[in-house]
């Protein structure tokens, strides 16, 4: 069993959790916000009250905020720019005659 490394952030504060909600069947979970809770079960209960008061969800994921790894903003260039000039990855790059039919 993996150790829960989410430790209280400051002083006696409950750890922070990131909340993901599946809005409808067939959709993926989406990040909706965060909240404090003592453990995963508690985080799910709180997420239900904080983020689904109007039927906004059919499923909830909770992740300790301390467990989220993120790309850094300063890497934005080297990370994402290379994909920018590769227009040939999009279908519209390839011009085909109408006679070829719908493709």
């Amino acid at each position: 069993m993996a150790e829960d490394t989410s430790s209280p952030a400051a002083g006696n504060e409950w750890p922070l959790w990131e909340i993901f909600i599946r809005g409808q069947h067939g959709m993926s979970h989406r990040h909706v916000g965060s909240l404090h809770a003592t453990d995963a079960e508690h985080a799910i209960k709180n997420a239900r009250d904080v983020y689904t008061r109007r039927n906004e969800g059919v499923s909830i994921w909770v992740v300790p905020a301390s467990q989220v790894s993120a790309s850094s903003p300063s890497d934005k260039g080297p990370m994402f720019d290379p994909a920018r000039d590769k227009v040939y990855r999009h279908p519209t790059f390839y011009e085909l005659p109408d006679e070829a039919g719908k493709m």
Partner: protein, 326 residues
Amino acid sequence: MYAQLVKSEASAEDPIRLAEFQARIDRGEKIEPKDWMPAGYRKTLIRQIGQHAHSEIVGQLPEGNWITRAPTLERKANLLAKVQDEAGHGLYLYCAAETLGVSRDELFEMLHNGKMKYSSIFNYPTLTWADMGAVGWLVDGAAIMNQVPLQRTSYGPYARAMVRICKEESFHQRQGYHLLLHMMKGSEAQQRMCQDALNRMWFPALMMFGPSDKDSVHSAQSMAWKIKMNTNDELRQKFVDETVRQAEFLGLQIPDDALRWNESTGHYDFSEPDWDEFHDVISGNGPCNHERLEARKSAWNDGAWVREARMAHAMKNSERRLAAAE
């Protein structure tokens, strides 16, 4: 507004970085928690979002006062749902503030020791059931005026919290107006009660937007940073223009002899609220300041054992799980 008299901080950073930052904002880009930002931007936002969050939380108290005395089960359910929403609004906003590097406990601490404010409006008492109508209609109505443009604010987490809040806010105003419409069809005593609620709440509602700030440097900086989208006067005028018609429809009289339609401006002229009273209330001397702050402090102190017990329970469970896995 919910954040009144928020002073913005000047920034003493590298002018080139500052200019690049301003250019991002001018291009309409969102600033995210890990992005570089001027220290003043961060500090001003903590102050503003914190004050906004505190207002949502303290704002539960004047309405909480009437939950057990609602006249019907339906009205009770409505009010309960509304007050629960306000708790949610506070939580969304605290989380947004925390992304700027302040902890939840620090924010509470600053509310409790008076270093951070909450909106002046919640320092007025709610004396009758009609006040529940007036609060929803006027207070949430004024909040909406301010919050709708803030959905476009430059700080990502704040903007996203505002989108959620705005989605929920319209029910708050409508349930208040609905309640008053209903009461205005009732007995003469009930109608008088509605008028009395409007009489007491009108000027405090106008104060929610804060004093005129069209010449304020703080306001200019906040507007350049897009953490304030309109001047206080613009929003107040918009509020008056919309509310007058709603009052007329209810058959209520706005308690202002100077109120009249101005052909040339296309707006209503109206009297300024008493700004001495506003400064008095915001500095702690309103009718309910003491009561509100005491209620928050005792909720925090009386809840300490619950917070500790929950944490201890979670620790015990995780130790058990670890032991079982060995």
